[in-house]
């Protein structure tokens, strides 16, 4: 009986955790990002970049808040695909949840960013 209880006490929180994994970040993503980047971050040809293969997401998560807050402005016709509207009103909690969800698009064992780091990155961006 004790054995079952201990298995249950480990498995149940794990199951809950995996079911609710970054759901808040996914919700922000669905509302603000999925129209262009696709429901799974797959992108569209070369027009809207795939987030699943994003070098910035994989190696420079500290740059993400600034890209989301300020967007990417078009500097020439050839850079059309880099045009992205700004999302200046997104707050620290939503930004942290969103980045953690985005990181799962690139790899399942992605590391987690903390709200302290994200707040600092957002402050530097401003």
């Amino acid at each position: 009986m004790k054995r079952w209880l201990s298995i249950f006490s480990i498995a149940f929180p794990l199951a809950i955790y995996s079911c609710t994994d970054y759901q808040q970040g996914k919700s922000v993503y669905t509302e603000s990002c999925a129209n262009c980047h696709g429901d799974k971050g797959q992108g569209l040809a070369s027009l809207y970049p795939s987030l699943q293969k994003s070098n910035i997401l994989s190696h420079h998560p500290d740059q993400i808040p600034c890209i989301i807050l300020k967007g990417i402005k078009r500097d020439s016709i050839q850079h059309l695909s880099l045009e992205m509207p700004p999302h200046p009103d997104i707050k620290e909690v939503d930004m942290t949840n969103l980045i953690n969800y985005l990181l799962t698009l690139t790899r399942k064992d992605a590391h987690v960013v903390t709200i302290d780091s994200v707040t600092m990155w957002m402050k530097y961006c401003k």
Partner: protein, 200 residues
């Protein structure tokens, strides 16, 4: 006697099933004064991503899929363009099918900008035309395609428009349309394109 009877009955069932499975002919859609009317898309003259004129003659002997979009649209256009691309890839090798996307942001969507947009979709410029023209002409023809296009400064991107993908036959009649923001609706739409091709 029994064998004759069984074969008669089975033939009857086969004919009945065949009739049930035969798809209904595609209707002629549009604003009609009489039920038997077949409204046709009026004449138009636009410019495509390679600065070439696009008129009804461009789609002579072809069926075409058409939509309304603009390159900086942050809302439904990316989804509709993604579904147009899906249909394009499905009929990529069929020369009887063409594509026509009208930009509704005629102020910003210049010819080079449409070319850059088309290039990033990796499409054949002869098969899929992205066009611009006089704003009034594009807004006006949207009504003939049963679509809504409105300028609205309160909407993200500045335009309010429907996300329909419209199927036009070689005689300029609208024969079907789907909601381009709904992949499941597009799933049901693709067989209708094939049905039109088979019937023409």
């Amino acid at each position: 006697m029994n064998i004759r009877y069984i074969s008669l009955v089975s033939s009857f069932i086969f004919i009945l099933l065949s009739c049930q499975n035969a798809p209904q002919p595609l209707p002629y859609l549009g604003v009609k004064e009489n039920p038997e009317d077949k409204p046709a898309i009026p004449d138009y003259h636009f410019i495509d991503q390679l600065n070439r004129p696009v008129t009804p003659q461009t789609f002579k002997d072809k069926v075409y899929l058409t939509d309304f979009f603009f390159t900086s649209c942050p809302t439904i256009c990316p989804i509709v363009t993604g579904q147009m691309l899906r249909i394009y890839e499905h009929f990529n090798n069929d020369n009887r099918v063409a594509f026509l996307s009208h930009s509704i942001d005629t102020r910003h969507d210049s010819v080079p900008r449409l070319k850059a947009y088309a290039d990033k979709l990796h499409i054949n410029d002869d098969k899929w035309r992205f066009v611009t023209g006089k704003k009034d002409d594009i807004f006006s023809i949207s009504k003939s395609y049963l679509s809504i296009v409105l300028e609205d400064p309160n909407t993200p991107g500045g335009f309010n428009h429907s996300g329909y993908i419209i199927l036009v036959d070689k005689d300029r009649h609208i024969r079907a349309f789907c909601n381009g923001t709904d992949p499941k609706d597009v799933d049901k739409f693709i067989p209708k394109i094939q049905q039109l091709l088979d019937s023409e």
